[in-house]
Subunit: 208 residues, 2 copies
């Protein structure tokens, strides 16, 4: 599945280089990848790469930025809707899981290579991660305030729900038995249970 | 915290090499690490390394094996106790989380470098992963049978609980505000909620 998260990157050559870098980093890791490998995968010369990205770290930073901005958008849209807190939580989890499954290769690079970012880029990305976490936490707090959720540790439960969604990118296999949509649906139910919302019945039915 | 998971590896030089390999793989990734780096970190010569491990992959395989056998033991002990299903699930999650937090560096290598294993080693490690999953799934099925749990999708919920525990190794920081024990306690409660066991009260109290 082509990763449409990079659709906004232009010119075309810069986008192709980012996609090539995602593949290379995912296969070999950041430190074992050279800019020559990346240029080669994109069908370009190393000199052509340097027009767009001065360093290998710059490529990783752009990938991390696109990935994290996508997460912020996904969570902000879900959290900002006019639905009730349970509806907003379910919808945030559904779309967050869907992205991490459908784009597991990008997501792995985004999640596992953070330590290779330069200090300023690292700080910037941490800020985006913080926004994701705060956005989801607000949904939990709204649900507690409205009496829909029963949560003893809002911060820890927020971290756990984020973690559950992110880790889909580690174990998801496209050839596996579950489609990204199915995982999203199951995880939305599990997240509602984690915040003590409603009671699932033995048949697995739940009011939504 | 020294990783006691490797305490059973002997002789001492072989154990030191595994610990050095864990550090190197965690910092730079498997593909960017050389056996020379590993020998150097252990204060040994490359020739001394080859006495114990023929290839870099052999080091990764031993690390993966120790880590996965540790997971099998942890889960089997918890699952095999005479406690009720909720008690067994809580205890499995507590110890699984504790290991993934306290030994997050080993755990990251074990979880993220699987693709670098040779085909035979990969198959063997997958077998151990399968045993972990089956052991936890049995606890869920026991809890459903005893009426303690309400789970519509046992396989998917098992994967989710395993995933939640494993991913602690990604985000855990020793300097963070939570000790491994605290995360284990919270996650045991969240896992019980995920299987529809009991109802947490607004104050977060729960019968155990």
């Amino acid at each position: 599945m082509p990763d449409e998260s990079f659709a906004g990157v232009s010119p075309d050559a810069a986008r192709r280089l980012l996609l090539a870098a995602v593949e290379a980093f995912a296969e070999r890791g950041f430190h074992a990848t050279t800019t020559r490998d990346i240029a080669g995968r994109a069908g370009m010369s190393p000199a052509a790469l340097y027009i767009h990205y001065k360093t290998k770290e710059e490529l990783l930073y752009q990938i991390s930025k696109v990935g994290h901005e996508r997460s912020v958008t996904t969570l902000t849209e879900a959290a900002g809707s006019t639905e009730s807190a349970p509806g907003r939580l379910a919808s945030a989890v559904r779309s967050f899981v869907h992205w991490h499954a459908a784009h597991h290769t990008t997501a792995r690079v985004v999640q596992y290579e953070l330590a290779a970012l330069g200090p300023e880029h690292y700080t910037e990305i941490l800020g985006l991660r913080h926004r994701c976490e705060e956005t989801l936490r607000q949904v939990l707090e709204d649900g507690v305030a409205s009496g829909d959720f029963r949560v003893s540790d809002t911060r820890g439960t927020t971290t756990a729900i984020m973690s559950l969604c992110v880790d889909v990118s580690r174990w998801y296999r496209p050839e596996g038995r579950r489609a990204p949509e199915d995982i999203g649906e199951l995880y939305a139910e599990l997240a509602l249970r984690m915040v003590g919302c409603g009671q699932a019945h033995p048949g697995g039915e739940r009011r939504s």
